[in-house]
């Protein structure tokens, strides 16, 4: 059996790591940054849809009554989702259809919790934002 040659020595590896660690970021292009912004928006939408699935499963038939334990979660979700959707729309980025439905419809008419969870997974919830 022919032994596989070692691709590089330890000192070469350390030199490579020095280069990697000391390297200053290059100048970014606006187009790249806009793609990254979309990635961020998408991650936010994934988290919002994921949270919507949780809220939907809590009370499938009604909005939370005043004093309900999850009323504050509901209010926070409404605020964050509205802000995110408005920013996306203004910047010309798409809004996830399920998120748009949740914003447009009363909670009893939202998509099912399972549909929302599927959409959240598709968008990358729980695994970081991916473009």
């Amino acid at each position: 059996m022919i032994p596989t040659p070692e691709p590089c020595t330890r000192s070469q590896l350390v030199g490579l790591l020095q280069h990697l660690a000391l390297r200053r970021p290059r100048r970014a292009l606006l187009e790249e940054a806009e793609v990254e912004l979309w990635s961020l928006y998408r991650g936010e939408q994934a988290d919002l849809v994921h949270e919507a699935a949780r809220l939907r499963s809590l009370a499938p038939q009604s909005v939370p009554a005043p004093g309900a334990a999850w009323r504050s979660d509901w209010n926070a979700w409404r605020t964050n989702a509205t802000e995110c959707a408005a920013a996306c729309a203004y910047d010309g980025y798409p809004i996830a259809p399920r998120l748009a439905e949740c914003l447009a419809l009363p909670l009893p008419r939202w998509p099912s919790a399972r549909d929302l969870a599927d959409e959240a997974r598709r968008l990358g919830a729980g695994g970081g934002a991916e473009a």
């Binding site: 590089c8 330890r10 020095q18 000391l22 200053r24 970014a28 990254e36 912004l37």
Partner: protein, 247 residues
């Protein structure tokens, strides 16, 4: 509101920068560079304007509008010095990451967070925090299987005949080590500090520092090892013949 005249000072090669785009970490990235364009903008102000500027800080010139509008202001020429903030954040964390990826994430976070920024904490502190968030986010994602044909790992690894995924594995393993181990390895192997100096500064024994650095070395050495493969199922040629198969 449109941004004021942008200074070119930030884009000049300073003492801490190397010609190939790296940053010399033995030298310092200028900590006050964040204020450069703001000072340039104030140069044309009257004393009355200065008082008004104190009440309405200049960050408003860069961080107003939608995230995409903010990006359009802060990416060309890097007027806020996000590159410097990212370089400092990577240095502070002692991690091996794709600096360009962290930079892009930091730009996006700054643009997205701009609407919520109200001048507190001061701009440099806020940018440092957003850069640290970018480092943390990319560290999280590096735990996932990501294969980028033209990523920094691939570009750096291939000339040495290294497998980019193996290099990533080594770097990821290193990045998961305790901070003390990472700092020791960076100090000795990356910044070429003297062990005696580290002993004097840290109060730890030379043996302990060397042990920490060794753990860092062991982690990055994963980059030189082939990807572990699951044990192969025995083939008919390799397995012993069944009694009925024997001649």
């Amino acid at each position: 509101m449109e941004p004021r005249a942008r200074s070119t000072r930030r884009n000049e090669v300073r003492g801490g920068d190397l010609p190939d785009g790296r940053v010399d970490l033995a030298g310092r990235v200028e900590p006050d560079c964040i204020g450069a364009p703001l000072e340039a903008g104030r140069a044309q102000e009257t004393p009355g304007d200065a008082a008004a500027a104190a009440a309405a800080p200049d960050w408003r010139a860069w961080l107003v509008g939608s995230p995409r509008e903010v990006l359009a202001r802060i990416v060309p020429g890097d007027p806020l010095g996000v590159r410097d903030a990212v370089a400092l954040a990577l240095r502070a964390e002692c991690v091996f990451l794709d600096a360009d990826r962290v930079h892009l994430r930091a730009l996006a976070l700054v643009a997205r967070g701009a609407a919520r920024y109200r001048g507190r904490p001061e701009l440099a502190t806020w940018l440092a925090a957003e850069s640290a968030r970018a480092v943390a986010a990319v560290l999280r994602e590096d735990g996932e299987a990501r294969r980028e044909a033209d990523g920094a790992f691939a570009q750096l690894a291939r000339p040495l005949g290294l497998d980019p995924d193996a290099l990533r594995r080594g770097c990821t393993a290193f990045n998961r080590l305790p901070a003390a181990d990472r700092v020791a390895f960076f100090a000795l192997a990356i910044w070429n500090r003297r062990l005696d100096d580290l002993v004097r500064e840290s109060g730890e024994s030379a043996t302990e520092i060397a042990r920490r650095a060794r753990r860092g070395l062991d982690a990055v050495m994963l980059a030189l090892q082939p990807e572990p493969t699951p044990p192969a199922r025995p083939t008919s040629a390799a397995r012993p013949a069944r009694p009925e198969e024997r001649p």
